[in-house]
Every structure is written in C-alpha cells, then in structure tokens.
Symmetry: C2
Subunit: 360 residues, 2 copies
DNA sequence: TTGTACGCGTTATCAC
DNA sequence: GTGATAACGCGTACAA
C-alpha cells in the first residue's frame, strides 16, 4: 500500500490541504452584494430581487459554497440532529427500527446520531449531556437488553430535552412513546397455542425491568387464565432478550423427563426463541414434534430458520418512522399533540407450533 | 393519552421550557473568575491554580453547565463527529460493522452520524455536502448493494474530505480502506469444495461494480483453474447481495435436469445463500444432499439456519473498529500513515457442503 | 497565572 | 429591497 505504483494514484483531500471553505462573505463579495442578502437567499427569508438572487445563486455555485452548519446551529440554537439510542444493532429488530428513523429523518434533512450505550460502557447519562450541549435537538430511545435502561436514567434524559421512547414506558410518567399492542398480540398467540391443545406451558420472559417484557407476560397470562388454567402454575424463566439466554433457559426449562416437560415454550422475543432452537438441536429435542416454540417480533430472518417460527409481528420500520415523526412534532413550534395509537402486533402462524404429542 | 389519570404524570422538559442553558460567562461569574479561565479548565490548557480550578469545577456542577458544542465546532473547525454510510442495516454484516465503528468512536468521544442512502433515495453526493458543512470531520463508507456506490460518487466524497472505505476499493485510486482478504478466502473455500469432489459448479456472484464481488469471483476462479478446470465453464449469475436475488438466481441456476445441474452453488455472500436455501426448500431440492451451497461473511444468524452454512468469515465488528481508527489517524495532526493489513477471511467448514451424490 | 479582546460564520434587528 | 451591526458561545493570542 505504501509502495509506489504506476497507476494513477491519489489520496483523498484529507486534512493535507485544509483549503479554506468559502464563507457567506466570500459569496457576497463575489456576487457584489452584502452578506445579509446571501443569508436571505439561503433561507428564503427577506424578499430579494430576482436579479440579485440569481447573482448570489451563481456565486454560490462557482465557489462551491456550503453553509457552515456549526455556525447555523450556534445561531439558531438547534442542531437539526436527533440522537438514536440503540442497545444492540445485531438484533435485527433494532436495526429495522433504526432504518425507519433514518428514513423519516432524512426526509426532513435531519441528521441521526447513533449511540450504542452498550458498546461504549458509558452511562446513559452521557446522552443527556449530548442533548444539553445543543448537538441534539431530541432523542429517540430504543429500549432493550443492556441499554442501561433504568427508569431514572430515562427520566434524567427526558428532563434535559424531548425524548421519544420506542417499545418502552415508564410507569407513572406519560412520556411520548411508540409502542405496539404486545399484550394483545401475546394474548392471541397464547390463545392459539392453547387451542392447539397445549396445557403444559412455560414462558421464557424478557428482563423484568422492561415494559415490553411485562406486557407480553401479561398477555400470556391473561390467555391462560381465560382458558381456565391458573397462570401461576406456568413457570416463567427470566431472560434478557438475547439469543444466548434463550439457550441457557431452555436447558433449565426442558430438563425433566419428557412426560413432565412443558409441551410448548413461549419466548418473549424471536432471538431467545432462536436460542431455544439452538439448544434443542444440540440436545436432540425435536421442534415442534417434542416441544413447540413461539417467538415475538417476526424478524425477517425468521423465514430462514427451520422450523419457521410461529410468532407475533411488530412493524419495526414503521415504528421507527413514527417515532421520528412524533419527535419532530414535539420539536415543532406548536406541537399538534396528535395522539398515536399503538401499532397492532399480529399473530403469525407458522410451523413451530403443533398440537402436543401426549394429549391427556 | 390525553385523558387525565390519577397517577403522578409529567411530560418531559421538551420545548415547553426552553430555559436558557448556562454559558461559560455564567460559570465564570459564579466562580468569580474570567471566562477564559473557565475555558482553560475545560480544555486542560493553560495552567490554572488548584484553588481556582476547584471553584470553576464547582460552579460548573452547581449550574449544571454543558459546553455548547456548536460553538466549539465553529471555533475549532472540527465537529468531533464522523459520518457512517450504510447501505442496508437489515444486513447483519453492516450492522456489525456499524457497531464496531460506534464502539471505537465512543471511546474517543466522537459522534457517529448514521446515513442510509438507500432509505432516503438521496444521491450520495449529499454526503459530500455534509462533510463540507463542518458537521462531519470524515466519513466511513460501507460498500454494498444499492449504496449508490458508483466510483465517481465515492471520489467526489473523497475530494471533499477524509474518507475510509470498508470492503471497497476504487481501481486506480489509493483511498484508505479496510478490507479482508476475500480473494484468498474464496480460493480456499473453492479448493475445499473441489476437494470434496465437486466438478459442476455455479457461482451466484455479487454486483459487478463492487470490489468485493470481483475479488471473491477471482478467488473462486483461481481455485478452479488451479484444479485443472476451465473457469470459463463455470457459469456466473450476477446478484445484488440481497436475499431475494439469491432466490431468483437459484431458480435459474438449478433449472435443468438433476444430472446436468450444478452440484454446488458458490454464493458471494450469506444473504444470497439464504435466498438460495429458501428457493431449494420451496422447490423441494434438498440441501446439501441434492446441491451443496456456500456463503460468505459468516453472519451470526448462520448458526440458526439449517443446514449450517459452509462459508468464509469476515470479522465485521473488528473491521468497523479498524475503519474508525484509520479515520482518526487520518484526522490527527500528523497521521502515522500506518498501513493496515487486510483482515484474514477464514474458511468455516460446516454442513451445507457434502461430496456430490453423482461422482463420475 | 489570569484577564481582555477579537474572531469563527450565521442570523436577526434595525435603519435606510 | 438592501445593507450595516450586533449577538450566538467559545478559544486563544496578547498583555498584564
């Protein structure tokens, strides 16, 4: 790479030639007008005569002028940038939400600043600082495993600026949030499972502290109760939404002799369901013949996994877009205060659930 | 949401109370020093007496002071932020690289601005503007399907500031890049496949324009030639690195009667291999019994797919970290010019390749 | 060691 | 319509 080659070779402009970028003053001089006129043209503000506007536009093109956004934000006290706090990009659900946010933001020429608290080991508190330092106009917070998502930290964040939560809620605080109706989805899923004849269920739940985990759990239990069973008889194994914990908990949940084992495992998200699948494969337990499995999220990769997962779909991209729109509304001069309905979470019936072999 | 509830309820600070943030001057007054002293403390610059430093620090805490980063960037002519151009976050490879970038950046208190050109339909040219407008100190460009990755656009980007390419190279231009030795990986993979006895191969390649696609293709063909076969006899179907194209191309590649079909499909990335798997499943073609399949990337989700994919591993997170480090080096006052070796791309032998049934 | 004064590039307010 | 002028909040010579 450091060796000379005979092909035409160049380095990027890089910092080697920090050639000064043209400023508004330069443009003004070149166009023979005052800086303010240039500013007017740029912002479609004051009325500028057609001829002068043309001259300014021309000068901008000739000089290849780009407004200095730092100066702009300094002056306008807003950055046209929002933060996106993501616990784990390797989880496709978060990746998809992020895409949705990006899309909506780009449409408004708003930058998205990516923050992955877990990767940095930095307290979520850090993000409040970002908000205060004017680098961010607002923040979208994706809840999830390891986000350091203690309520107090989120509240601290909310104190320092507009925040929109995705798939999260803090009891007692009515923070703006975009969620799906996971409770209902979980209920429908469980009802379906029960209709298939399953009676010995077990739940691989999400982290206690997470609102979604609690919602899904409620949904499971409601359906179980509605069926005349006692929800307290259904064991709940608390996972952390990651694949690994699915694998570990499956080992525990499925240890007894086959006739005592649960016939179905309700997993609070797809990733953990995948982990369970992984365990079953190595343990020689057949899915769905020996044990049925359900997930939650309906990640695209689900279509590749065998057996295909019966799960509940959350519209990830749409939720991301909506979150961004909600935030922009909050940011606008007079928010519409429009209220957002939870997204539907829809049951996806596929191959990973079959009636139990040992019907009583 | 608009209904009153009896629980304690609050809204986030939001834009409702745009209470003025304290500035350096405020801190200075509170501490009984001059603004510059505060600045010195902040930047560990001029030597400040212990007592005054303490007073300043104290004042900052009391007032909950946060430096205005817009002003800072304006003054320092650098934003402490880099751009990250990602073609497709749903592709786990890119998500992992992004995590690596984030991690390295966070360590240096550098912000990562996420740009997803495909989502926005905006010309990549847009990113050059971002670079010039001082909002970004540099850019990391992930190559891939639909990134609008025409060489001229990348060069335009490189003209306007430091750019580091990941998994991409522009022939004739020696731009900084982080790559893996995909050619070699592809060669080893193919050698292994040939050793298994396969002679009727077909290739599901990546987009012609992409450097990685060309590299992997070269690797395949080198091994084929080394084996005494004529690479030109091996058909190449050009895909776009997305799952869907794998499905479509598999339909074409596998159409003839079984005894004429290729016994193995070399896919230029995992996603397309997944697509091929999908096609085979619906078409009733068994993998690997009827046809063997290979991928490239070794995405984590590979472990969940049946059969497990024989593939070539690229260290995604590490490559992201390295790319960020390379960019920081470029950005530093005097770049070390350290040269980065390509990452190894290592063969992962798993279940999706078996010797062909119909050995001649 | 500490304070003063100026400039970074824009925008907003006011006269003309 | 247009152009001076004054901030925005911070960094940094320079003087003290």
């Amino acid at each position: 790479m450091s060796r000379e080659s005979d092909r035409p070779t160049r380095k990027g402009a890089s910092s080697l030639s920090p050639r000064k970028r043209p400023t508004m003053k330069d443009v003004a001089e070149h166009a023979g007008v005052s800086p303010s006129t240039v500013s007017y043209v740029l912002n479609d503000n004051g009325s500028v005569s057609a001829s002068r506007r043309a001259r300014v536009l021309d000068a901008m093109r000739v000089l290849n002028y780009t407004p200095n956004e730092s100066a702009r934000s300094l002056k306008r006290r807003s950055a046209s940038a929002i933060g996106l706090i993501v616990p784990d990009l390797a989880n496709q659900f978060f990746a998809l939400v992020s895409e949705g946010v990006e899309r909506a933001a780009a449409e408004r020429d708003v930058l998205v600043v990516l923050c992955a608290p877990e990767a940095t080991e930095r307290p979520a508190f850090h993000h409040a600082k970002l908000l205060q330092s004017q680098r961010l106009d607002g923040v979208i917070y994706l809840s999830g495993a390891g986000a350091g998502g203690s309520p107090s930290l989120i509240l601290e964040l909310a104190e320092s600026g507009p925040v929109v939560l995705v798939d999260e809620r803090i009891p007692g605080f009515d923070l703006p949030a975009v969620v799906s109706n996971g409770r209902r989805g979980a209920r429908e899923l469980t009802t379906y499972v029960l209709e298939q004849g399953h009676r010995r269920l077990a739940i691989i739940g999400g982290p206690d502290a997470l609102w979604t985990a609690e919602q899904r759990l409620s949904g499971y239990r409601e359906a179980i109760a509605a069926c005349g069973l006692d929800p307290d008889d259904v064991p709940v194994y608390v996972g952390d939404y990651r694949q690994q914990s699915g694998t570990e908990l499956a080992a525990i949940a499925l240890q007894g002799p086959p006739e005592e084992r649960p016939t179905v495992l309700l997993c609070a998200n797809d990733l953990m369901a995948f982990g369970v699948l992984d365990y079953c494969r190595t343990a020689g337990i057949r899915v769905p013949e020996d044990v049925s499995i359900t997930g939650f999220d309906d990640l695209p990769i689900t279509s590749l996994v065998t057996p295909r997962l019966t799960t509940v779909r959350q519209p990830a991209r749409e939720m991301g877009q909506r979150a961004a729109m909600l935030l922009f509304d909050l940011l606008s001069d007079e928010p519409s205060g429009e209220t957002y309905e939870p997204f539907p979470a829809t049951l996806q019936i596929r191959d990973s659930v079959v009636p139990p072999a040992d019907r009583p």
